[in-house]
Amino acid sequence: MNIRQAIFASVASAGVLASGWLGGTAPAAPSASAPTTHRLGSAPTGTSTATQRLAPASAALTTVRRGQLRGTEPVQLLSGPGYTAAAYDLTQQAALDTSLA
C-alpha cells in the first residue's frame, strides 16, 4: 500500500472522502454523506440513467449527459486546446456565467 492508498484507506474508514480527484487506487464507495463528486473507480449513483443511444466502442466508457458533467461551483482553472490569452479571458467570463451549467 503506497501513501496515497493509505490516505484513501484512512479517510474512507473515517467516513470522509477527499474533495477532489487524486488518482491512484479507488477508495471505498461513497457514504450517504459523501460530496457529490465521486472517486476514481466508484461509479456514482445515477450513472444507470445515462443515455445509452450508442453502445460505447470502448469497454471502459459510458455515455454521459452534459448535466452529469457540470457542477454549480465556480471554476478557477481551464483546460482546452487553443489556449490563448484571448481564449483564456473569454472562457473565464463564460465559466462565470451560470447559464452555461
Partner: protein, 276 residues
Amino acid sequence: MSMAGTDPQWVSDEEPGDPPVPRLANRAFEALGTVVSISAPMDPDELDAAVQTVRRVFAETEEYFGVGGRGSVEGLRRGEIELRYSHHRLRALYEQAISWRNATEGAFSPHTPTGPVDLRGLVKGWAIAHAGQALMDLELPHWSVTAGGDVLCSGSPFPAEPTGSDPFYGRHWRAGITDPFDPSALVADVPLAGTPGFTAALATSSGHGYGRSNAYLQVSVLAEDIVTADVLSKAILAGGSSTLDSAVREFGVAVLVSGHDGELLASAGWPLQLPA
C-alpha cells in the same frame, strides 16, 4: 487578464479570531509560445516571488531545449535539424518520447504527420512539472500552474486548517474543460487535488487542425502528473478505444471524450455530478 477566484462562502465559514485566509490571487505570463497562469491563495507579494521562480523555470526550459524562433525544437519540427546532430538534452527527451510511444503501442508519436520530430508537447509538460516541483521546493502547499490548457495543481484554492472531518485542508480546485463545439463554453468541470503535496493533472487534446482523422473530437485525461495526462490525451485521440482501454487499465487515469457527433463518453473514474 481576468480570473474567477474568491468564494464568499469560505470567508463566512471562518471562526472569529482565525487568521484571515489569503484570497486566491493569480498571475499570467507568456512562455513556450503560450499563456502560463499561476494561481494560489497567497498574499500578492508572496505570489509575485513564487511566480518569479516559475518564470525562471519556463525561461530556463526555453533555453535548455532551444524553444522558439530559430531554436533546436523548432528546427527539428521543420526538418532543418537532424536529431542525431541535436543537443543531447533533446535526444534524451526524444528517448522519453519513444518510451511513451512503446507504452501506447504507437498511438503517441514524437513525429509530425509528415515525419519530422516534434517535441514541443513534451517540453511544455516538462516545464509544467518542473514548475510544480519548484513550488513544492518552496514549501508552498496550495497552487496551480496552467500552460497551454494543461493544468497541474496541489492543495486547495480556499485552504482551511485540517480538522477531524476535513483532513484535506479545504475545498478542491475546480477546472473547466472547453467545449469542442464552442470554445467560449465549458463542456465539463472537475474537482482536482485537495491534499497538499499530491498533485492532480488535467490535459485536453483536440482533433481540430491536425488535418487527419482522429477517433474522437476531443479527449481530456485526469492523471497524477502532467506529462502522463498530456501524452495519454494525445495517444487516445489518435489511437481510439483500444488505447483508451489500456490507458485506463495500466495508468489509472480517468478519461472524458467528445465524439465527432457530440456524444460524450466517460471512463468509470471520471467525476460525475450526482443528481440533486
